[in-house]
Symmetry: C5
Amino acid sequence: MLLNKQISIIYFLKLIKWDILAIFLYACLAGTMDYFSFFKDLSIPFSISAMIGTLLSLLLAFRTAQSYERWWEARTVWGAIVNDSRTLIRQLIQFLPEDDSKAGIVKEFSVRQSVWCYALTEALRKCPSEKVEQYLKGENKDSDNRPNLLLTLHAERLSQISRDYQLNANKQVQLDSTLQRLTDAMGKCERIKNTVFPRAYSVLIHFLIYVLTTIFPFGLDDQHWGIEICLATIVPVLFIAIERTAILMQDPFENKPTDTPMNALSATIERNLSEMASLPKPEHPGQPDTFYLM
Amino acid sequence: MLLNKQISIIYFLKLIKWDILAIFLYACLAGTMDYFSFFKDLSIPFSISAMIGTLLSLLLAFRTAQSYERWWEARTVWGAIVNDSRTLIRQLIQFLPEDDSKAGIVKEFSVRQSVWCYALTEALRKCPSEKVEQYLKGENKDSDNRPNLLLTLHAERLSQISRDYQLNANKQVQLDSTLQRLTDAMGKCERIKNTVFPRAYSVLIHFLIYVLTTIFPFGLDDQHWGIEICLATIVPVLFIAIERTAILMQDPFENKPTDTPMNALSATIERNLSEMASLPKPEHPGQPDTFYLM
Amino acid sequence: MLLNKQISIIYFLKLIKWDILAIFLYACLAGTMDYFSFFKDLSIPFSISAMIGTLLSLLLAFRTAQSYERWWEARTVWGAIVNDSRTLIRQLIQFLPEDDSKAGIVKEFSVRQSVWCYALTEALRKCPSEKVEQYLKGENKDSDNRPNLLLTLHAERLSQISRDYQLNANKQVQLDSTLQRLTDAMGKCERIKNTVFPRAYSVLIHFLIYVLTTIFPFGLDDQHWGIEICLATIVPVLFIAIERTAILMQDPFENKPTDTPMNALSATIERNLSEMASLPKPEHPGQPDTFYLM
Amino acid sequence: MLLNKQISIIYFLKLIKWDILAIFLYACLAGTMDYFSFFKDLSIPFSISAMIGTLLSLLLAFRTAQSYERWWEARTVWGAIVNDSRTLIRQLIQFLPEDDSKAGIVKEFSVRQSVWCYALTEALRKCPSEKVEQYLKGENKDSDNRPNLLLTLHAERLSQISRDYQLNANKQVQLDSTLQRLTDAMGKCERIKNTVFPRAYSVLIHFLIYVLTTIFPFGLDDQHWGIEICLATIVPVLFIAIERTAILMQDPFENKPTDTPMNALSATIERNLSEMASLPKPEHPGQPDTFYLM
Amino acid sequence: MLLNKQISIIYFLKLIKWDILAIFLYACLAGTMDYFSFFKDLSIPFSISAMIGTLLSLLLAFRTAQSYERWWEARTVWGAIVNDSRTLIRQLIQFLPEDDSKAGIVKEFSVRQSVWCYALTEALRKCPSEKVEQYLKGENKDSDNRPNLLLTLHAERLSQISRDYQLNANKQVQLDSTLQRLTDAMGKCERIKNTVFPRAYSVLIHFLIYVLTTIFPFGLDDQHWGIEICLATIVPVLFIAIERTAILMQDPFENKPTDTPMNALSATIERNLSEMASLPKPEHPGQPDTFYLM
């Protein structure tokens, strides 16, 4: 865990290292010139920096809150996937009549549902998963929207089972509602993945940070060369760090440390469904999420 | 993507170019007069600008958040349209009995559902779509609310199919629930499109910006002519830029860069439904959204 | 549209004209006395005004946000009414068997549903509607909660139709769910209409504005008589204007410019339902909303 | 109404009278000592008060918003109770076959549902209601969770009616869903009633107010004895008043002026249900809410 | 209650005692050196502290709000568990035909549902519960996800009952929907338990507090040694206390004073279900929540 923590902070610092450097150099330049009286008479009152700082703080606070909500929504959607996966199998257990093929059907759906989770992870992270590859090869089908294909397979199979067992229409409809919720979860993930944060909004915040960085050193007293450079570096870097944090959180399906732990969750689902379907425990739950292990 | 980015910023700057010019001229005037001692003894303490600035920052931050929520709601509604379109076809696949006409029915609904998406886009953006025109000419029907007409066609056809197949009432009801959700999505889009942001609220924020612009230059020190003009231009422009960003986001169905990418989403839906209904892939997915390609 | 805009701003200024006058007189008094040295040595540091200003700005920003949410919720509820009205008729089209009386039943429900919308408008705005009057006279019934009565008529008629057609229970239940959503929408409107914004909260904000108005002039420099009066008028008026805007938005069913356009929406519903039920187009959609036409 | 308003403000002032007194005495003490040079050289810069003031303003604004949301949720839950009460009776009207006992059953459920509302009010406010007492004595049952008992009576009676009338299972399930929503509303009220606002959070805000009260007088100029005392009293009292407002709103079921008007709402429900069930109008709607009449 | 209050504050102070000490020592060091002129000429203008303070206040206010929402969501989920537990038993009472075994079945589900609540508590708090242990030993089953196992037992038993009683499919589906909502509640608890607050975000806020603590003393006037140390201790401690409060609330399933009172709620559920199923009252409701008794 501690190791993980370290990684996460180092990862973060790496992300903003060039910004830190640029701001440090600018602060040195401005500070030195100020000290050696180039711009001695050029000063921008600090209250203007404070005003822009307040505006920026507010926008950043809201933006961070919006990014957090996106991140939390992503996590909530995957929570719903966990729930509905369990519900799907539980409904089959409850609704199918007791006969020889029941266990087989439950197993089949457990496996396909687990594969669906990995396929959705794969589709969102754009990194191929062997499990999905194998399963689809076995089924001899493929699509450019694999999770959707797997749900259609679910539906076709349910349609067939309903005919075979003369399953009551109510139960069919209840199972279909679970599929519908899975379709919704899938679509929500796609929405979060594909929707760019409004460009004008993020460009504006970025621009505000640079305006603040530019005028900030000229509002400081000119007594201490070192302290001025320190402050002129730290304060803008803080604002940039907050902006980056927001950017990190706003895209929760990108293989980053703040990512939704989709592989871990898929593995949990696989383990739960295997138990419910009396399948052997999965040996190793696919590739783990690189950074974020719960 | 980079090209896109450029367009988006240039588009944005064009939107506020007259404001920038007006504020710049005012700043020059005020700065120059200040410098040549016309209003030498007229000064409004900067703390009043700061106070109004804080008030304005807060209102703008909330307003931006509200606009963002509208924009996100619009995107969410279209996400739901994607989901429910897929669900509708999946339900038909699951519920209709296997016979010769099944494939035909699934295809018919896939096509009509895709056309519905384009018709909704057309109705929201007020720009005609050839696909819809052709389809309705083929059906020999028209209405001043075309998406609603298409949903009614769905309903009439479902009613007929239900009679032909003696479809179980549960399944009819489940299909009807999907139509209901599509009706809801349509109505939500209309609501977002037709509801003007409360006038008093936006006029007030606009007025506050002008009050700030007016008193701001008189709160600055009178030492540097150039810096004073710079600051008296940049700070009000920042506030105006934030207000414009909010205005841009609050109307997400107006053919602008921050628009909900309805054509792209309609094309995705068409492609998915075609695959599910074993139709040939659509060649070119209608006209693309001018600015915003996901 | 422009005309509309003008009306809206003039309407707003009329609302706060007495406050503006009172504050202006107080500012003149305080400014003059200050100038002629009555209170020369009485001054309250501006930083206290700033502190109260920050507190007030925050509370006002949150309050405006809460009012906006109420206003938006009202609009959303009416959006849901539009959707469910369409859904009700579409369900009848889908569920009723094809025979001679079907068209008549669909027409009957379309008319009653349109009347329900006008009746709800009437009940919320407390201004009588001729359409509703006529319809209820025709039905020979009345109640002190007319929208509820009309929904009960819907229910009784559905009960009778179900018996006549031996309508499947599933379909009855689905129709009932639509009635339930309409009941919910009605109740939500009543809730928004009848719930006074917490008194202690609004009185407090009002009081804070007066405290600020009182101490504000004494924090200004005493150099310019004119500017001091101007500032001491404008700043408190801005705060009052924001409070009034919030008050305007928080009650969206009061026949005001920021009202939910219930008559326009009812007319849209009437037009849509008429088309769906193949009724002739309504000639003039009731009385229009006085201010707010979409 | 005006009377009501007066009561509400006087009630509020009574709530904080001891705080006002204590702060006033402290302000006098600090102001007097300051004036007579005890602490002449002790001064805490006002900017620290401003910093703590900003922090406190923010926390109070959020806290007020959270309290408002709790209050609004309480009101929304009771709105849902109004809706579902009406829906329950409407469903019985729609679903029960026309025979001699139908009217009796509808009346029975109307009465029990009205009693349920009063019982819930009683349970939340911890003040006994005669109506409930009488009804339960008539039924010869009692429980320490009376609303739950009444819902169970609903369920048992529905079970019996279903058997007697051979009621279709769909309709039973639809009625059960209404009971389920009533159970949810009841549980939500209990949750809001029983969940204490996080202690650490409210203690902290309280502590911050006292810190501010303590250091505030020492940041003021020492010129005017009277003004200093005035300011040192008013400003902290404002913060305390805001905190108390939040505390008032956060517990909406406590027999206070800002309470959810449960008796008035129960009476409205009783009147509506009586009309729907053709019962005589209730004479006097139970005891009124002491403060808050809509 | 008062005792409880004391515990809660002492608990809180214990949590931050090392931080208080460290900050106090630093404040002493900085204050003393300042006083004895080591850094006499080193001073960082207070307005920078104010700027960082504003930024930090905003982020902390949002963060506290987000933690509060998590805490409130946890409480809401458990409220839903209370509701759905009652609904499950009520549905069995309503749906099962009256015969000799009905009472037994209702009792069986009441017991298992109560155990499920305790099992969920156990799983979230990671502290074993004897009741669950005993029950599962009795059933001779176990799993590493016990609540899920218990829900599967519910489902299997419902499946068997449905066959025995020829229970209508509608009712089976309605019961299944309740199980589905319980599955959802369970999954939501797991999500809140397992989702770490975004690391970058919390590390950043922590870092900001330390930056503020470091520069704060150098912005104070150098007149009063004692007051400077006091202020330089209290202000940073306030920020830290707010952060800790947020951290406390954000993890509501950790056996802390601000925890969701899961044992108390489970006991309430057990008592209610026992009454509904005519079981004897449970003697002592499991082990109580250590701190938080409602």
